[in-house]
Amino acid sequence: MFEHKTFSRAAAIAAIAGLAGLSPARAEDTVKIGLILPMTGGQASTGKQIENAIKLYIQQNGETVAGKKVEIIVKDDAAIPDKTKTAAQELIVNDKVNFIAGFGVTPAALAAAPLATQAKIPEIVMAAGTSIITERSPYIVRTSFTLAQSSTIIGDWAVQNGIKKVATLTSDYAPGNDALNFFKQNFTAGGGEVVEEVKVPLQNPDFAPFLQRMKDAKPDAIFVFVPAGQGGNFMKQYAERGLDKAGIKVIGPGDVTDDDLLNNMGDAVIGTVTAHLYSAAHPSQMNKDFVAAYKKAFNSRPGFMAVSGYDGIHLIYEALKKTGGDTDGTKLVEAMKGQKWESPRGPISIDPETRDIVQNIYIRRVARSKSDGELYNVEFQVFEAVKDLGKTKK
């Protein structure tokens, strides 16, 4: 059940009191999942989406699996690694959880890694996207994505589609640098030229001078990676400065045009081409049902974070089915390796060697939908079963 910690503790005490003398409380009948998510702060939308998606999955699939009752304990870390670590410690030591999951940003996922190794429990990463994460503990399994996946693909696509000169604008932190390096690697290998490279500070108030520099460099396109929340600001200033009219396209990994925020970005964003793992407009029946159910339950559109959470809890359910309810961490991770299933985003699997996700990467163009008038990323090309190239290159 979905309960925050204090409630679950109160419930446990009540249950013990009620059952006293009848039968001992049987902890082995429940599976506890500790969700560590940014529920407040700048990354709160990530946490909200993942929590929603997990709620939805449990609603649809029942709260018992392999004869065990699933109990979710949510902890807010506000995307601050120190808090993640404390939360993970409390969950493991006090609540004796069987899984830790969530992790909005890379530093949070890394902070929990040594604890997962020590306690021998699976850490399911549902958001953070730097390649190295899964190498930090043999108990980490990822259901989100890596920046290498989308950035290399958009690099390849750009070369194949006549984009020769690119200026890059990326946020100056680990995921931004990952995105930049993987894009550059494939784009220049294909014969493209990076004419201008700007790293903007993560807390950047004003893109104007950077964009002016981009405009004066006259590239065919700008490669952009900024954290999801800043995408709207970027697109507005891009249009204000008339870069769209100067014929400079925007390309990048799909974080810039996250479904969560896309519809508020205005017409300037139309035509932006991104490579990403999920679009709410993905044309499968499964996705249509998923989007409809999510909208009905939470009155908003699911984004790639929601899908990663949805797939994360699915993976936990499947692993438990495979072990027959055995909650031994090592066995659970073994059971997760090589899992294959159909997700709202398309067919995905867990690479048995790296415990990282293998998925299709779609090239999408932003367009206004004729049916509901909203802005969507419309997929028009697929690169199938993309592994994390950040690791396979090594």
Binding site: Q203, A208, P209, F210, K215, G232
Partner: protein, 298 residues
């Protein structure tokens, strides 16, 4: 990465100058209220950005949810921040005027954190935008110099405000009362000036300006619940560099920092974010009391 842009290209210099002036003007409108409370009233108000944020959110709600025209919502952003300011001044701030600076800092930073949490709770943590009229969007070219319409509007509004403020302070009866109340509160009240009233009014006006600045800055700086903390450092730099004895100092400091920040990010993007701090350090080594500071501050 070599700089492939002709550094002496006249149009790019002018475009950057224009952007820098607009940015500086914006900083000034938000920060001049702080210059007044800190310099004239000798009160450290770290929650100043919260009033700017309040104005921004009021404007956003009026325009986006109630369909007000943008230009009608701007004065209301001013009024609402001023009203919040006067209520807080009468109920809370008043008691801290005579306290030490440390008490003032602790109190106002607490207030800033509370405002962050409150807005996060009510409005959510994601960044919000104000729907602008089409007339304010985009750029037009004047001899190849890109002029952003929105930024031009900021320069016009803020320029007029600055002139107005200077006139009020220097030429009106209220201005002289305020200066008297600041210079020697005891003598001023002896002359029949209602000092607390003058201070309350000035405080509210400073908050109102911040609110207006917050509404104007949503488009350029982005508006979210962390606004008061994210930009606090910028406001403080403006006041420190400008010196807090007049409004001319902060005005020139804002322009200098705005232009310096934009030009720094354009010409040396690798160093861009540090330019503003480097300028502050250099100026403060050269003139420890700020550009226009009184050498013997009280």
């Amino acid at each position: 990465m070599s700089i492939r842009i002709d550094p002496v290209s006249m149009t790019s210099i002018l475009t950057n100058l224009f952007d820098g002036v607009a940015y500086g003007m914006l900083l000034f409108v938000i920060a001049c209220g702080l210059a007044v409370t800190l310099g004239l009233m000798n009160f450290v108000n770290l929650a100043h950005g919260a009033f700017a944020m309040a104005g921004g959110y009021v404007c956003m709600l009026l325009v986006n949810q109630h369909g007000w025209p943008f230009f009608a919502a701007l004065p209301l952003a001013f009024v609402s921040s001023a009203v919040i300011g006067i209520v807080l001044e009468r109920t809370l701030y008043r008691h801290l005027y005579a306290r030490s600076h440390l008490d003032q800092v602790l109190f106002t930073i607490g207030l800033a954190f509370m405002s962050v949490a409150a807005v996060d709770y009510i409005q959510g943590s994601s960044r919000v935008f104000i729907n602008l009229p089409a007339a304010l969007q985009g750029q037009f070219d004047v001899f190849g110099v890109g002029i952003g319409r929105y930024r031009l509007m900021i320069i016009v509004i803020c320029g007029l405000l600055t002139i107005g403020l200077q006139m009020v302070l220097a030429k009106t009866r209220f201005g002289s009362r305020l200066r008297a109340a600041v210079d020697d509160p005891r003598a001023a009240s002896g002359l029949g000036i209602n000092v607390p009233q003058v201070f309350a009014f000035t405080f509210a006006f400073g908050c109102g300006l911040a609110g207006l600045g917050g509404a104007l800055s949503a488009e350029i700086l982005g508006l979210d619940p962390y606004f008061p903390l994210k930009f606090m450092i910028y406001f403080l730099i403006v006041v420190t560099v400008g010196g807090s004895s007049s409004i001319t100092g902060p005005f020139l400091a804002s322009l200098l920092l705005g232009i310096g920040d934009v030009a720094g990010k354009y010409y040396v993007p690798k160093m861009g974010p540090f330019v503003i701090y480097t300028m502050m350090i250099v100026i403060l080594i050269w003139r420890p009391n700020g550009l226009f500071g009184r050498t013997a501050a009280r």
